[in-house]
Amino acid sequence: MDKETKDSVFKGLYLQHYKELERYCRAMFPDDDLAKDLLSETISKAYQNFERIKDVNSFKAYVFGICRNLFKKHIRDRKYFENLAIAEHIPAEMPGDKAEIDRLYKALAMLDDKQREIITLFELTGFKLQEIADMLEMPVNTVKTHLSRGKEKLRLILKEENISTSKT
């Protein structure tokens, strides 16, 4: 594959999955700068090793795999703590959908890693339960449990936030 073809194919696939990937990065890192860095790093790695993909249909799994590994590396390097610090302060007074979505992402950040990842993959990036189970190497039932418990917790967090917001 020459460079021009590679660029063109890559860009097409990238744009096709961009939204999901962006949402995943934002859920993993509620700080925009960090999310953008993760996104950028993922795309950079995906582009560098793009020739290794044999089937373009596996692009989504390929790119999410890279993203997950990079995120795990960030956690290992303890980059993540600062992020959670940001999550402590959920913006409460920003009007409109944007604020609500921001609050959702930051509430997601308060969940444990597994629950957050599973909810993000299922609800925000469109992966099916089986695909998530394969990706995380765990039984589907476990994925379901994490999903339902995580959502329950998320509801509670958002509810508490609503109460505290309405009090203030």
Partner: protein, 555 residues
Amino acid sequence: MKEQNFLDELFDKARNEKNRFDPDEVLKAATDPKPSFKMPFKQLWIAAAASLLIILGIVGFENLKQSRQNNPESVVITDSVSNTLAVNEHNDSASQVNSSDFDASMDNSQAIPLDEDSIHRIPSVNSQHEVPLNNSKQISTATTKVEVLSGEPEKLRLLQQVPVQHFEILANRDTMIMTEDGLRLYFEGQGIINKQNQVVQGLVQVDVKNCFGLNQYVREDLSTFSNGNLLETAGMFRIELTQGKDTLQIRQGYDYGVGLNREIPERMQLYYGNADIKNGINWKLDPVGKTPAPIVVVTGGKYEKVTDPFFYKNYRFKKSDMLQLLDSSWLAHFTSDNRQIIGRRSCNGETDAYLSACLTFNEQLAPELAKMEMFNINSRMTEFTFTCYSKDKYAYAITKGAIDSVKSYVPPSDFNYLSMPMLFPITTGWINVDCVPRLEVKWRKLNRVEKTDVKVVLPEALKVKAYLYIPETNSIARLMNTDSRVLIFKNIPAGYDVRLIITSFDKEQFIVYSGDFNVNGQALEVDAFTRLNGLDEYLDWLKKVCAEVDAAKSL
């Protein structure tokens, strides 16, 4: 049901939200190796000139690649040649030791959380390209610089240098860099200044070289002399901060630390050096004789038995803030003055053995830490980091009990990292972790000084570089000779077994020698040189020799 809908609606909104970042911009940034940042208007002409140079460089490089195909005699030159040259231009001013600069980096009042994501890692310059040495028409920027130098030893120095690791950091944010070989560099935000003493903002280039074995010493032309005395070393490294052409320094009172990647003997101290191609580095001891100190990273949980002294002395944050953090369900806490403490809480929520170990750890550690003379609790790194020193000049102060407590909690693999010594140098440039050799210490105690000049006789007069390496102490002496057949290493401690290494570069051949001797006052006779073709062959030879020395050392 309403709540359920509320959450689903939120997810819907998130799924339908417009892109927060511009996909094209992200793609461009990700596939473009250069970091994107806004450049002041005044510097645009510099950028334009740099771009032109890069284009010329690329064109030159392509030509060179082509010419290599036609010229099998060519040797390999690493990019680090040009890079190191560029750095050397401003090296001396960067690494001058000024005792008034001593700030101990211990008492700064700012505590900003680290942000490793502010690091822009540039690929390390160890990629090699092949350049024909003798074809001046097809020489790129890198080779032009090689040609400018006079004398074969200098050329050899440039050819063999250890690759520089390049990083970019944001000067206004706390940053930690981890080099490929495991050195950890910590820079505090707003902690870098230029020659005009102005605080630097924006991107700063950090160049790092780590030399801790014979191979790197020879390739970097290093020696371990301090005022005529040969030192024992645990390794040398060079850190350079630049922004454009400006060499930068660490701001007084701001943290700048280097975490080593290996254990070192406790007696080691910090030395600083100015690179001097001709005479080698004359290492100067840190003004207060600083010793690499261990850092205990405490990953505490709910702290139930906090004793007063634990937070009593010299803490950076209020006791209430620290306690609040420990009791908080979050990993970070904002203090009343809006600073951030980052910590890691592990006990709560854990069960059984893990919880028990965690609590035991806390219980054991508190009294141990309370006994220590701590004047600095540094919590700006990702976990609570207690820097423990004794009163007498930063000697080791961590007690055995505290180490055992940490060990009982932290997995052994992590503990190795945690126990790695940390340095707080006062300057950038060449830094050495050295001490006076044990034998010499013994002599001094006995009031004897047994040193001798070591004469080396060569089979022919050549411009050579000669190294005398003492494996036992990891010490190295270096000589650059003119045209004489006799070299003299002065002031070498007697009685040690040494490895003599001689290198030279003549036209396209590397002329080398390696042999073992004992320093006993007799001349070291070099019977014959070996000639090697090409840099690769030379580097292989050097690697083999160093492996031999290492193997003998381990026996």
